[in-house]
């Protein structure tokens, strides 16, 4: 028997409270029908006896205490899935909005997913060639990894994400099985349009599933958007054996939605008003990347987040960095110099890199070279600091060499342009060319055999 409950007891932000509800289950989905004929969806987030708290996805505007009929649907939030979702566009809550009709589902999956058993995971070590020198050489992306881009407002993170998609696709030998899941959370319409157009231009649009929650869409839906997207990604990866690249932008907007929802529930805030469970909440998204034994597919995540005020210690980038397997940090001063992609090399990191590079994956000199480039570039920073105090002329000869290396490194290696697609060999050779600007005795991270093979002698100069 289906019962409609009349009216609500309390309205607070996007939450409504109903009383006298029997048989409600936690996280169950409800339909809220308004007197004016429209209907909204909500989810039970708290149960206290017969009193339940429901978050309304589309917001509580024009809901009054007595103009609704609420119906319990008896199941948690599920996403209808079939191979036809490729090429489709959904709203943040997983409803098709491209006018092509509903999905005829093969399968319905709970959008919260379930954790992957750690013993069932395959440890990822397949290198993805993105064609971008800094990423391939220094922050190698591995299939099944979650590698976020830490950016700031006004920096070209979207271009970078698009370039990665475009170039990673080309080098993929299993092109047939490559697809993209794109989740936009609280981004502007132009940004979503930019992505759509770029997908179209590079001919992957039929391989893209888009979930759009734009900045003027309901905030509560935003907390569902990445979950719907990842459910679709898991389905494509582990049921359809595809290699899925998930782009999620912007995680900061998502976290703000979580904060708004938490505060309207009256929860005790921790840092900067974010709820204490933000770590667990973000982890429940990011941990859905990976590979599973016995399945051919993989989920690779590139979440994008804008650091408020470029502050990497802000809770959102901070907690993200603790969960993800590294990060690509964009640097505003490089951006200001017109360098693209403006990858701040020193704070960037790929944790899975060590097992996906070297002999048999990329090249035997990759790891020591990367190490040496990092160490040398760190010294460039020290030398610059010193130069800013005592002037460049007063620097020792070796420090001057470092400054020269630093300039070349930024303008040739980091800077590469939107369409330049470099092979890993090219990138490594370029790295050797640059590191050879330094005297051989400075290179303490590389052993002699490799130096003999690759070090470029500039003695003739």
């Amino acid at each position: 028997m289906i019962i409609d409950y009349l009216g609500v007891k309390e309205i607070n932000g996007s939450l409504i409270v109903l009383d006298g509800i029997k048989n409600a289950s936690y996280e169950e989905i409800v339909d809220i029908n308004l007197d004016n004929g429209t209907s909204r969806r909500g989810r039970i987030v708290q149960i206290d006896g017969e009193r339940i708290v429901v978050e309304v996805f589309e917001g509580t505007r024009s809901i009054s205490l007595n103009n609704t009929k609420t119906r319990l649907l008896g199941r948690p939030m599920e996403m209808p899935l079939s191979p036809e979702i490729l090429g489709r566009v959904f709203n943040g809550a997983g409803k098709p909005i491209d006018g092509l009709g509903d999905i005829f589902p093969h399968k319905r999956m709970n959008i919260n997913g379930t954790p992957i058993n750690p013993v069932s995971r395959t440890y990822p070590h397949n290198f993805i060639n993105t064609g971008i020198s800094t990423i391939d050489t220094l922050i190698t992306l591995i299939r099944g990894q979650k590698l976020p881009i830490f950016s700031g407002s006004g920096m070209r993170h979207n271009e970078l994400a698009v370039q990665i998609i475009r170039q990673a696709k080309l080098s993929d030998d299993e092109q047939q099985n490559f697809c993209v899941v794109f989740a936009a959370m609280g981004v502007k319409n132009d940004v979503a349009e930019y992505f759509r157009k770029s997908f179209e231009d590079s001919g992957v649009l039929q391989k893209v599933v888009m979930f759009l929650n734009l900045s003027n869409d309901p905030i509560i839906e935003r907390t569902l958007t990445p979950r719907c997207a990842l459910t679709a990604a898991e389905y494509l990866a582990f049921e359809m054996d595809m290699h899925v690249l998930v782009i999620m932008t912007d995680i900061t907007s998502y976290a703000e939605a979580v904060r708004e929802f938490s505060s309207s529930k009256g929860e005790i805030p921790s840092r900067k008003g974010y709820p204490g469970y933000l770590y667990s909440d973000l982890a429940s998204l990011y941990e859905r990347a990976g590979m599973i034994k016995g399945h051919k597919g993989s989920v690779t995540q590139i979440p994008i987040l804008t650091m408020p005020n470029d502050d990497i210690t802000h809770p959102v980038p901070d907690l993200t960095g603790y969960i993800t397997e590294g990060q690509i940090v964009l640097d505003r001063s490089l951006e200001g110099q017109g360098i693209y992609p403006p990858v701040g090399v020193l704070p960037s990191l790929s944790r899975l890199m060590k097992d996906g590079i070297g002999e048999g994956f990329t090249r035997e000199d990759h790891a020591p070279l990367a190490n040496q480039l990092f160490a040398a570039y760190a010294k460039v920073m020290d030398a610059r600091l010193l130069a800013s105090v005592i002037g460049e002329d007063e620097l020792s000869a070796i420090d001057k060499k470092y400054l020269q290396f630093g300039r070349e490194f930024e303008s040739v290696f980091v800077n590469q342009g939107l369409t330049d697609n470099r092979s890993i060999n090219d990138s490594l050779n370029l790295g050797w060319k640059l590191i050879s600007l330094l005297p051989r005795s400075e290179l303490d991270r590389i052993d002699d055999a490799l130096l003999d093979k690759y070090y470029v002698n500039n003695d003739c100069e």
Binding site: Y26, P115, P118, V119, S120, G276, Y286, P315
Partner: protein, 586 residues
Amino acid sequence: MDNKNVITGINGPVVTITDTDAFSMLEMVYVGDERLIGEVIDITDKKTTVQVYEDTTGLKPGDIVEGTHSPMGILLGPGIMDNIFDGIGRPLKAIEEISGAFISRGAAVSSLDENRLWNVQLCVKAGDKLSGGSIYATCEETEIIQHRCIVPPDLSGIVESVMPDGQYKVNDTVAVLKDNNGVRHNLTLCHYWPIRTPRPVKKRLPATIPLVTGQRVIDTLLPIAKGGSAAIPGGFGTGKTMTQHQLAKWCDADIIVYIGCGERGNEMSQVLSEFSELIDPKSNRPMTDRTVLIANTSNMPVAAREASIYTGITIAEYYRDMGYDVAIMADSTSRWAEALREISGRLEEMPAEEGFPAYLPSRLSEFYERAGRVKVLSGKEGSVTIIGAVSPQGADFSEPVTQNTKRFTRCFWALDKSLAYARHYPAINWMTSYSEYFSDLDNWFATNYGEDFIRLRQSVNYLLHEEDRLMEIVKLIGSDVLPDDQKLIIEVARVIRVGFLQQNAFHQEDTYVPLEKQKKMMHVIIHLYQKAKVLVSTSIPISRITQTGLFDKLTKMKYDIPNDRLDMFDDYIEQIDTALASISHI
């Protein structure tokens, strides 16, 4: 009361039951039709609160909560070693068999494989008097770990009958014990122990033996004792996990308990694959033979994350009671503290600092106090060493978890962002880190590696501190203006930093370095410093000394001298002497 205990409220992992007096504090309960595992955490006359260790989606008011009349515990016996558990002690491989690659709810599996046969030797006979902790049977758990079955600590009596040696399952009775009241107890290969209760010991012993890790910066500058506790704080990307992996691989404990508490799933699969391939040099067996993994990744239920730390330490104490040296790697205790905070928030408790509950310090101290070197009930010696990673928010060491951990650990290995950025690993900052175990351990070092080990360490320490002071000046005016004796300190300190403190975990020779080699490396560096200092004092310019290439040579000696060719150090000393002599003669 029967079956009338039903759920009335649900909020995340916290479930409440009204009007019942059926439960006791910290009792384990089963919740709902799927029998999700939970634990009673709060009781008032009106309502009882339960934290559920699994996802609560779909629970309803009216679902039954069933008590077990015993606190949350784990079954301890053979089969723990070389296994991987979730936070509440369920083997993940068994869960995989039930539910496939994704973990479903309500999987009821025992922590031990109940069907596996063990080759058991009994070591008591009828009439023997046994007390808590006595060993009554042994079996080979893995090729290197002998499992010793011990009488539960709260039991004692006289052996009434014993089964012959042979093959038994964990729940088979191998002996019968009659206690003082005449009650008979069947001794099987296993017993149950509540995870939040420390296992009793006979006596605590002073921490006078170092845990040798083969990591130079730790063994020489910041040593830890067996039975000690250490904290590794560091922002993300500074190498906490890497450091813990290195310690787990190479430290000279008999058994490693690795707790992945709220960390990455891929990291756990890395540990699994890496440790099963790595061969322990001492035993020639895979590392997994001496390792227990507890994996409660960040997306697994938060309440189970809170319990995982206790599950881990209970297992460690159990093996300690058999007379083993156990080391626990807890990665990361901050995630555990956050789990406390999350549960506390759901209980609407009054928060103290940064939303953490006021009992955070006492929980942390309770945990770290379970470390120690002890005489166990059977009279053997064993130890539990705790090495806990801390992930401070925003890499800010003043936050509550770091600060409180600092109070209860005696080693503080602070990881440094700028070292990590320059890929100087392990990124342990030698200026801000400390170890309080020096005075306890000096005796051991002096006895085993000679007094000069301590002297060399002090010289290295002195040079590093001097360098730090001089770098303040260099940062302002450049290094050119320094007098030569100070330039020498900077040069030698560079050799110490790059050639000694920095250690390459991926290099075959460098990943583990025996203490003898560590000492010889220090010796060669200090030798060079002292000889060069004499030259500098006779106004020979430092540039002449650097031209000899000795500094570069010493920087690379960690790679050039294999661990089994320590005689090569004598050549180095000779080369230093001849090279410097040739300068002074000109």
